[in-house]
């Protein structure tokens, strides 16, 4: 597509803003990580040599992946169900879905502390039912991080997928049915393939969101279950080591970009409706 120069001008304010307030500060953080009298990647080699760091990198990736998968498994059917309900029920459900987004993430994490803690709601409940003899340590674990983050990002996935589902022409489903597809088949063969691009966009948001989340892992994960974001904060704030923080920042950026690229490739695989080849 050819854009007129006038149209390009519309990008100017945004571009200036990004350069001044994002790229320049970013460069000033990243620059020292490559420079110690001369150009060096020593800091990065150091990072990857340390098995403690690798553990955190792996945990971050793993938790992000698990959270994304759980969100998809829980979110897609929910979105599909919502798309089938009447207008009124649906706006009610949507309000309920979006409600968590209206509360501050610190408060949400506190809620989970109340639920998961040793003296928390869940433990008291299980104790009172005699299912467990002693309170179990649910809090400050990967499990707690996963639960808290799923709770945080599920609405995003649901709304993204719902938006895509709404745009699927109802005639397509009816056509599938007249052609002998039962409800399950019309879902798997028609609806699902058509909303895979939406699922991927949603997953991408959840994945990058989890990867960079700070509050939830900090509050629910504790010091034993650090993730890249919490480690970055610790390096910068507690230890004052901005160079190491910069290293972690770049690693996070690279991982995010890589994963986004992979998602894009998958999305293109599924979304081959022949838009680019012209008849």
């Amino acid at each position: 597509m050819k854009l007129k120069r006038n149209t390009m001008l519309l990008l100017l304010p945004g571009t200036v803003l990004l350069i001044l307030f994002l790229f320049l500060p970013l460069l000033s953080i990243l620059f020292p990580t490559f420079f110690n009298e001369a150009f060096t990647i020593g800091k990065y080699v150091e990072f990857f040599k340390d098995s403690y760091n690798l553990g955190i990198l792996w945990r971050t990736f793993k938790i992000s992946m698990i959270v994304t998968i759980i969100c998809v498994i829980l979110g897609v059917p929910t979105a599909y169900f919502m798309s089938l309900t009447s207008k009124r029920t649906r706006s009610l459900l949507l309000a309920v879905t979006l409600f968590p987004l209206l509360t501050n993430s610190v408060i949400r994490s506190f809620a989970w502390i109340t639920i998961l803690g040793k003296n928390g709601v869940l433990n008291s409940f299980l104790l009172s039912l005699n299912i467990i003899k002693e309170p179990v340590g649910l809090l400050y674990s990967e499990f707690a991080i996963i639960i808290g983050t799923v709770y945080l990002f599920l609405p995003i996935l649901i709304t993204t997928v719902l938006g895509v589902l709404d745009n699927i022409d109802g005639d397509l489903i009816e056509a599938a049915q007249t052609l002998g597809a039962n409800y399950f088949k019309s879902f798997t063969k028609v609806i699902l393939p058509l909303c895979i691009p939406g699922i991927l966009v949603g997953s991408m948001l959840v994945f990058t969101g989890t990867l960079t989340a700070y509050t939830t892992p900090q509050m629910l994960g504790g010091n034993k279950n650090m993730m890249l974001a919490t480690m970055l904060y610790q390096e910068a704030s507690a230890l004052g080591n901005w160079t190491n923080a910069g290293v972690i920042a770049l690693i996070m950026i690279v991982v995010t970009l890589l994963v986004m690229q992979i998602f894009n490739i998958i999305a293109n695989q599924f979304d081959k409706r022949g838009e680019d080849e012209n008849a």
Partner: protein, 344 residues
């Protein structure tokens, strides 16, 4: 008993207002039947009941002696072509057409063979690998048709399949549909609100009004002998006036004008009607089948003029070809040939 029978069908979407009331329709095997009627009269609703996409509030639907009223859509084995075509955008033409066969768990080779054959019939073989987005309107329409036909449905349902095409393509596609339908001998219900399209391809036409079938007959009979005023108006009759039978084929209007009407009818009171095209404008009175009038409005139609003429019977519309058009205020006589007047 017919091949397809709709019996006493009632339908209401909201439980209070009935869209279809006691609708009955019988279709013989191999026939192409059209549902014709103005917008909102319930054509699509009737078709969707046949397809099983909506359930009637009461009544039954029978095909080939089998009561299908409560059989779900996906078990009916009908082919349907939607007005929007509803092609699956994520599948190639081949996969779109093969979809119904795959649901029937056929083996790969049979599917390949059947799809290949129907693509040939619909002249789409060279497009098998394309996606719907890469096809023209007419081609998509044929894909939709091929997809519905390939499963060898008991019944083919078409909801205004030609309405998105331009005039020229409409004509060639409707001939195409008729050709394929006849070749495969497939019982077909065709929904349209275009009279010409409907008459040209149907074996029978059900003219619908307000959720009811007003007349169900061959196109010829409907064209010549509409049975109600609504049907008459819908297919181009105009100029309605009350007449009373004197004797035999002799009738009188309320002002005593005499009309000879060839139409066979036993009633003593009836409404006479005639198409604007069939009225002749003559300069002199003849004592039968003619009335006097004054030209009120003249409109140019291209190959003729349309006149609105004030008469004792009210306004009469006439289409008239003449070199020298009449002017407003001219006194004329209108001759209504005895074989062109019908009674409803």
């Amino acid at each position: 008993m017919g091949f397809v029978e709709l019996k006493n069908i009632d339908l209401s979407y909201d439980g209070s207002k009935y869209i279809l009331k006691d609708l009955n329709l019988t279709i013989e095997k191999g026939e192409l039947v059209s549902l014709l009627g103005p917008s909102g009269c319930g054509k699509t609703t009737t078709l969707r009941i046949i397809a099983g996409l909506i359930n009637p509030n009461s009544g039954s639907f029978i095909v080939d002696g089998e009561n299908l009223t409560n059989v779900p859509v996906h078990k009916r084995n009908f082919g349907m072509v939607f007005q929007s075509y509803a092609l699956f955008p994520h599948m190639t033409v081949f996969d779109n057409v093969a979809f119904g066969l795959k649901n029937r768990k056929m083996d790969k080779n049979t599917i390949k063979e059947k799809v290949g054959r129907i693509l040939e019939v619909t002249d789409l073989s060279q497009f098998a690998g394309r996606f719907p987005k890469q096809m023209s309107g007419g081609q998509r329409q044929r894909v939709a048709l091929a997809r519905a036909l390939v499963v060898e449905p008991k019944l083919l349902l078409l909801d205004e399949p030609l309405s998105n095409l331009d005039a020229k393509l409409r004509i060639s596609m409707r001939t195409e549909i008729k050709r394929i339908q006849q070749k495969l001998g497939i019982t077909t219900v065709f929904v349209t609100h275009d009279q010409e399209e409907c008459f040209s391809i149907s074996d029978k036409v059900a003219v619908m009004n307000n959720g009811d079938i007003e007349q169900y007959d061959t196109p010829e009979n409907i064209y010549k002998y509409p049975s109600t005023e609504f049907v008459a108006r819908f297919i181009g009759f105009d100029n309605f006036f009350n007449v009373e039978k004197a004797n035999y084929h002799n009738y009188k209007d309320i002002f005593g004008h005499q009309f000879v009407i060839d139409y066979e009818d036993s009633r003593t009171q009836a409404v006479a009607t005639i198409r604007p095209d069939d009225i002749q404008v003559v300069p002199e009175d003849s004592n039968m089948n003619s009335i006097k009038g004054i030209v009120d409005v003249r409109t140019f139609l291209g190959d003729s003029y349309q006149y609105e003429i004030k008469t004792e019977l009210g306004k009469i519309n006439v289409n008239h070809k003449s070199e020298k058009p009449y002017q407003q205020g001219d006194a004329v006589y209108l001759l209504m040939p005895s074989n062109k007047i019908i009674l409803v």
